[in-house]
Amino acid sequence: MEEIIRVENIKKTFRDNLEILKGISFSVEKGEVLSIIGPSGSGKSTMLRCISQLETVTDGTIKICGQTLVEKGIYADKKARHEIILKSGLVFQNFNLFPHYSVLKNVTAAQVRVLKKSKEEAEATAMELLKRMGLETKAKSYPCELSGGQQQRVSIARALALKPEVLLFDEPTSALDPELTGEILAVIKELASEKMTMVVVTHEMAFARDISSHIIFMDGGVIVEEGAPEDVINNPKQDRTKAFLARFNS
């Protein structure tokens, strides 16, 4: 099995001495879907943001596709960091589409500017992705003309356009109503069936159980419990996990 993400003992302390990650280790192999669940403030999102370089770790090691991003708190050089950033795609809770670009340009811009692809090639890739997302008729629209669910699908297409090895989702449905949530979950499910490697931070327990190969429950900056989806969600062993999932399992 090819290892896509390896995280070893990462720690993150914010300036005000608040330790948000207290030594997290896990790995994700090619084709796996890892879901991370846990209460707000447990460090799930911060962990994801450390992998996608939006935050820096204070200590620990992160390797993406065998390439070292940070080793025991020492970061790789700029060039390596840039290469590594393109290996993962990140989907945000509030989409963060570029409002001044059309849907099509949102999906092509980075291909042209960063990967130096031709406009034609980028547009062909983009149209294919938009079609998969059921948005081929919206290519010329602007993000403000779309529903939240449609915007999130565009942002998934935008991330996929750079052909990342792994897709990271940071609470992709938390800004959506239940109907639109279903829309996005269906897309992620489909990606899972196509063996896309993914790490999903989510509050959708049933969804996490159904699509994941592995689940991590985090609280207070540590991994409290991890294992097969059924075990963690339906038969948690730790009291903290039981309490967190009480409402879901009752």
Binding site: N96, P99, H100, A109, Y142, P143, C144, S155
Partner: protein, 225 residues
């Protein structure tokens, strides 16, 4: 038409051309100059941002008319001071150039604060989205942030530009014969209110055009929210 009216109109035409030159040259220099000023103000480098802040406070905290006087007469007084101490230096300041320098610096200060407001209003998520897509900070600024900033600052910029049209009249304080100065001369010479009225109409029409231009620009940028 009596001869003196033709003469008056000719003089006022020359005056309005000067006013227009002052206006356009100030726009030309202050709009780009304001960008590094805004960057300096927002810099994480403490000394740079503090220095820029002091500069902004002085420019925005003193009358433009005073600044025109300082820029025009200041260098001459400094040279005189040097000459009195035995230095062999000479310097000739052109009033028109001095007027453009003073106005451009003054307007750059106001524009810089507008730019800063615009730049700071762009959500952090835009920078983050660009970063994970592999954009460099410079590319993020020029292709993601700046276009959105322009849309947001257009109304505030329109206000400033309208003020600039009227502020061009201040350059007469250092003897640049712009429209209002010519009108005042003619009013005295002809003992007539007409020159002042014509000058008023000129500023009014000029600002009418400016506001139409800004309205069009706002509409053009209204294709997204």
């Amino acid at each position: 038409m009596p001869d003196r009216y033709i003469k008056m109109l000719q003089a006022m035409l020359t005056g309005s051309v000067t006013s227009l030159e002052v206006f356009f040259l100030t726009i030309l220099f202050s709009i780009p100059l304001a960008l590094p000023v805004a960057m300096g103000r927002m810099s994480r480098h403490k000394l740079l941002s503090a220095t820029t802040n002091v500069f902004l406070l002085i420019i925005r905290g003193t009358p433009l008319m005073l600044q025109l006087l300082v820029v025009y007469f200041g260098p001459g007084l400094f040279i005189r001071w040097l000459v009195l101490r035995g230095y062999d230096v000479s310097f000739k300041w052109n009033r028109f150039v001095a007027a453009i320098v003073a106005l451009s610096v003054n307007y750059a200060a106001y524009f810089a604060e507008i730019y800063r407001g615009g730049i700071e209003s762009i959500p952090k998520g835009q920078y983050e989205a660009a970063k994970v897509l592999g954009y460099t900070p410079a590319r993020t600024f020029f292709s993601i942030v700046l276009p959105q900033v322009i849309k947001r600052i257009v109304p505030a910029m329109g206000n400033e530009v309208i003020t600039l049209v009227k502020d061009t009249a201040l350059v007469s304080v250092i003897g640049v014969s712009e429209l209002l100065m010519v009108a005042k001369e003619r009013q005295g010479a002809m003992f007539s209110f007409v020159p002042l009225f014509i000058a008023g109409v000129f500023y009014f029409i000029m600002n009418w055009i400016v506001s139409i231009a800004f309205q069009r620009l706002e509409k053009k940028l209204a294709y997204y929210n």
